[in-house]
């Protein structure tokens, strides 16, 4: 699953930033950023789904408010033998009730008699948090490795590229599950087991090559350009050149990568949780909720459907917005579309 979409980032984010930097015929007084923003604003579908994503984030952030004032129970509160509307919350044979459309158990209960709506929002917080942290890890480490490898070339490049190759050739889900199982409980060093940081780090590491390799390729091209030579002749140090001369040219690549990695990270976390190597119960995440829900198919399908729809909607919003962002930042494909 993640393998394909991940290897795809190499291709799909293969934008020639050089073209953009040199500019085609920029309207006077408008920089590339403003130009991209103008293009993005015209893409109403992308903007709509960007809005949907922000709304989901907002809702998930409001989870404690919902739990306290609407559902009146937290994400781990169990009520297995209780009743709602005169019906068992969980039947004698273990089947949880479906959506009640009331404030309590709005979207039904899970097998442990917990409120699915409350867990959906809390689970979303966890899924998004893992995705966000993983994205930061991937982008930062991918950038550093790609930057160093492309800038210094030679032995540094050889070693770093091999490291990327190792991570890349490791079957992504297998690597994730193995790491997840290995770390889930005990953790290693500062990485404590049973916390959200474990899946976040695991997911983050898996995607490093997909950022590191294209960044390296771009840096290789950038360092041959005149302004780098000029900077070198001025006697600027390596670090200075990398930060003030090379990095600004990578900016738009990284911006395009963020939604791509975020979407894939959320999906991979869900996959790991489904296989029991992600977020640890009773802490909810969309993946663990689906995984738990599959146990009660076919009688209580809402337990799969509710978190599943939320997961797909979120990932889809990020993907569509990201696609619009890529179009906006890549003038060539825009020219073609206007054919």
């Amino acid at each position: 699953m993640a393998t394909s979409s991940a290897s795809g980032t190499e291709f799909s984010a293969d934008i020639d930033v050089g073209l953009l930097a040199e500019g085609e015929q920029l309207p006077p007084g408008i920089g590339p950023t403003q130009l991209a923003w103008r293009r993005l604003r015209r893409n109403r579908v992308a903007l709509f789904f960007g809005g949907v994503f922000l709304l989901i984030v907002l809702l998930c952030l409001l989870a404690p408010v919902y739990a306290k004032h609407v559902a009146h129970q937290g994400p781990s509160a169990e009520n297995i033998t209780g009743k709602i509307d005169g019906k068992d919350i969980v039947s004698v044979t273990g089947i949880p009730t479906g959506p009640t459309w009331h404030s309590r158990y709005l979207l039904g209960a899970d097998a442990n008699g917990r409120d699915v709506a409350v867990r959906l929002l809390y689970g979303g917080r966890n899924s998004l948090e893992v995705g966000a942290v993983a994205t930061v890890i991937t982008i930062v480490l991918g950038l550093i490795i790609g930057l160093l490898a492309g800038y210094f070339r030679g032995i540094t490049d050889g070693v770093l590229t091999r490291i990327l190759d190792v991570i890349w050739a490791f079957p992504a889900v297998l690597l994730g599950v193995s790491l997840g199982v290995a770390l889930a409980v005990g953790g290693i060093g500062p990485l404590k087991g049973n916390t959200l940081m474990v899946p976040a780090v695991v997911v983050g590491v898996v995607y490093i090559p997909y950022v590191g390799k294209p960044v390296r390729g771009q840096v290789l091209g950038i360092r041959e350009r005149e302004f780098i030579d000029a900077a070198r002749q001025q006697g600027l140090g390596h670090v200075r050149i990398m930060f003030s001369e090379v990095l600004p040219n990578l900016w738009s690549t990284l911006v395009v990568f963020i939604p791509l990695i975020l979407a894939n990270a959320i999906l991979l976390e869900a996959g790991l949780s489904y296989l029991g190597a992600g977020v640890q119960p009773p802490n909810p995440s969309w993946g663990t909720m689906i995984s738990d829900g599959i146990r009660t198919i076919p009688a209580a399908f809402h337990n799969v459907l509710v978190p599943g729809i939320m997961l797909v909607l979120t990932v889809m919003s990020i993907n569509i917005f990201g696609d619009g962002l890529r179009d906006a930042l890549d003038p060539r494909s825009k020219v073609r579309i206007a054919r």
Partner: protein, 563 residues
């Protein structure tokens, strides 16, 4: 030039993928279609012949009798590897009766309880046609020690003279076992009297195999044995077959019936679809050890009511509470758990499969007390208010508690309920999830100081001592500990050791003493019992419902027959 070469890349991939396809496509294997067996001699009126399919969610750990220890392994091994002693093929408690297997009679015990003597039947042959010798028994014990089988340290090395030295490779044979191939006489010397030793001899892992079978687990090609069936066509983690042993008709051992059908066992981890396939009659037998998902129960009740039953086996599910660690060092804190825990809620988490109870010894076992539970009727659900009060009284309110959970449904769900219950009655509980495979070694490591968590015990054999092994002070071990609560109570230690020396056939004479001891354990709240598991017996409509459900092994496959 450039274009052609690009085409070559495409061709390369196509070729490579085709080569892989060709290389592996042939690996599909051919499964021979069912062949109806020749009718074997049988005393029951059940119809003979045909092949049935059994589906199970978990693969046997190994079908090699000297390695397999799970129920999925014991079921077929019991029928393919008969030991000197075996169990009666009967329903209910009648099935716990020990009967002679390859021995002419139940082994005789010396007056000091330390020497067992038996004689091998004449004319026995393995499924490959080779004759069985008395020395094969000694070899079988050696093999179980060297492979080694999971229970060999406890039950064999711990009991038979010289077995430990052999296991440690300090001796070339077990000094405590002497055999005479000419007369068939077998003598076994024990280090101390052990009442359940006949049960040990009945383990499928002491099912006799030929001398010379390698000292290595042979899951694909287990050695020949003596029994109504033999195991063939093993495909790892996918399927195997139990076919009628052609040699069996030559030997007739009273009480061990020949089978009626050949059985194909298929392993498929999706137990939902396994259950449905039996309801819909595409497969014939559902493995009793798998849970039937609650969501299918309505359909079973409408479509398969007459071929579905709930069966009880001797197993107890409980939360262990460490008596050496706060807060459960306090008896009041333990009482709070036993008083407040809602067994009905626990049961709903496992599709309603639990029978409520408070005693460590399960209802099917001699020694299960008949007195009412000391801290309220568990069938009525827990008394939360009382439990809260007990926590306050114990002075342990607000104590942090780590609940250890095994990552396997419904065990994990049970523990999330348990943790939220502990929080309700005034502790500060959090959960620690442990991978399924390493759960018991993890909580069995004393260095981890586990406070409380899931535990279970399924009988190895129907004798209370098998359960009380887990609460004896001497059973507290630094690693692979099973006395998770670190219970070390002099009364339990002396009583259970004394009662454990009484041979299994005489259990009925000491039933009241076991009951008294079990009531004492419940009173002290050492074991947080939350129920006894019931198991599903579900068949297709092709099958006769005139089957034996054995209290030790579950399905008795030799009782299966078609209508």
């Amino acid at each position: 030039m450039r274009k052609n070469a690009r085409r070559a890349v495409v061709a390369l991939f196509v070729l490579a993928s085709m080569a892989v396809l060709a290389a592996c496509g042939g690996g599909g294997g051919s499964s021979s279609s069912s062949s109806s067996s020749s009718a074997a001699a049988s005393t029951t009126p059940a119809k003979n012949g045909g092949t049935i399919t059994l589906v199970e969610g978990t693969a046997p750990d190994s079908l090699d009798p000297q390695f397999g220890y799970t129920t999925q392994a014991a079921e077929p091994d019991w029928l393919a590897y008969t030991g000197l002693v075996t169990y009666a093929h009967q329903n209910g408690t009648a099935g716990t009766a020990l009967i002679p297997g390859l021995a002419t009679a139940l082994p005789t015990v010396s007056s000091d309880g330390k020497t067992y003597t038996a004689t091998l039947r004449k004319g026995l042959v393995f499924s490959d046609g080779k004759p069985v010798k008395a020395s094969d028994f000694a070899y079988t014990v050696q093999r179980a020690l060297r492979i080694p089988w999971g229970g060999s340290g406890q039950f064999i090395a711990g009991n038979i003279v010289g077995a430990k030295a052999f296991a440690d490779k300090k001796a070339s044979k077990i000094s405590g076992i002497t055999t005479d191939d000419a007369t068939g006489k077998i003598t076994i010397h024990l280090t101390a009297p052990y009442g359940a030793f006949l049960n040990v001899l009945a383990f499928p892992s002491l099912g006799v195999v030929p001398t010379g079978s390698p000292y290595k687990n042979e899951p694909n090609n287990p050695p020949p044995g003596v029994g109504p069936y033999k195991i063939t066509n093993i495909v790892a983690n996918q399927s195997y077959k139990l076919v009628q042993n052609p040699q069996w008709s030559k030997m007739s051992i009273p009480g061990i019936p020949a089978g009626h059908v050949n059985i194909t066992a298929k392993i498929s981890s999706n137990v939902d679809s396994n259950a449905l396939s039996v309801v819909n009659n595409t497969n014939d037998v559902y493995d009793w050890a798998d849970t039937i998902p609650g969501s299918l129960l309505p359909q079973i009740n409408s479509q398969a009511k007459d071929r579905y039953a709930k069966k009880v086996m001797n197993s107890t599910y409980y939360v262990f509470m460490n008596t050496k660690e706060k807060p459960f060092s306090s008896q009041l804190a333990r009482q709070a758990v036993v008083t407040g825990i809602d067994q009905n809620a626990m049961s709903r988490l496992s599709s309603g499969s639990l029978i409520p109870g408070c005693y460590f010894l399960p209802p099917g076992l001699v020694g299960h007390p008949t007195a009412p539970c000391p801290y309220g009727d568990p069938a009525k659900g827990g008394d939360l208010a009382k439990a809260k009060q007990l926590v306050q009284q114990s002075g342990m309110a607000g104590q942090p508690v780590t609940v250890w959970a095994q990552e396997r449904a419904p065990r994990q769900q049970w523990m999330t309920y348990y943790a939220s219950f502990l929080n309700q009655i005034g502790f500060k509980a959090k959960i620690k999830n442990i991978a399924d495979a390493s759960y018991f070694p993890t909580i069995g490591n004393l260095k981890g100081h586990p406070q409380t968590g899931f535990a279970d015990w399924n009988q190895d054999f129907p004798n209370p001592i098998d359960f009380y092994l887990l609460v004896q002070g001497s059973a507290i071990l630094p690693t692979n500990n099973e006395n998770f609560g670190e219970v070390n109570d002099p009364k339990i230690n002396s009583e259970s050791t004394k009662l454990g020396q009484v041979p299994t056939p005489k259990l009925n004479t000491i039933a009241s003493q076991w009951q008294a001891l079990d009531q004492y354990v419940a009173k002290k709240a050492y074991i947080g019992v939350f129920g006894y598991q019931t198991f599903p017996a579900l068949l297709s409509n092709r099958m006769s419902t005139n089957y034996v459900f054995h209290s030790v092994y579950g399905w008795d496959w030799s009782s299966f027959s078609l209508k």
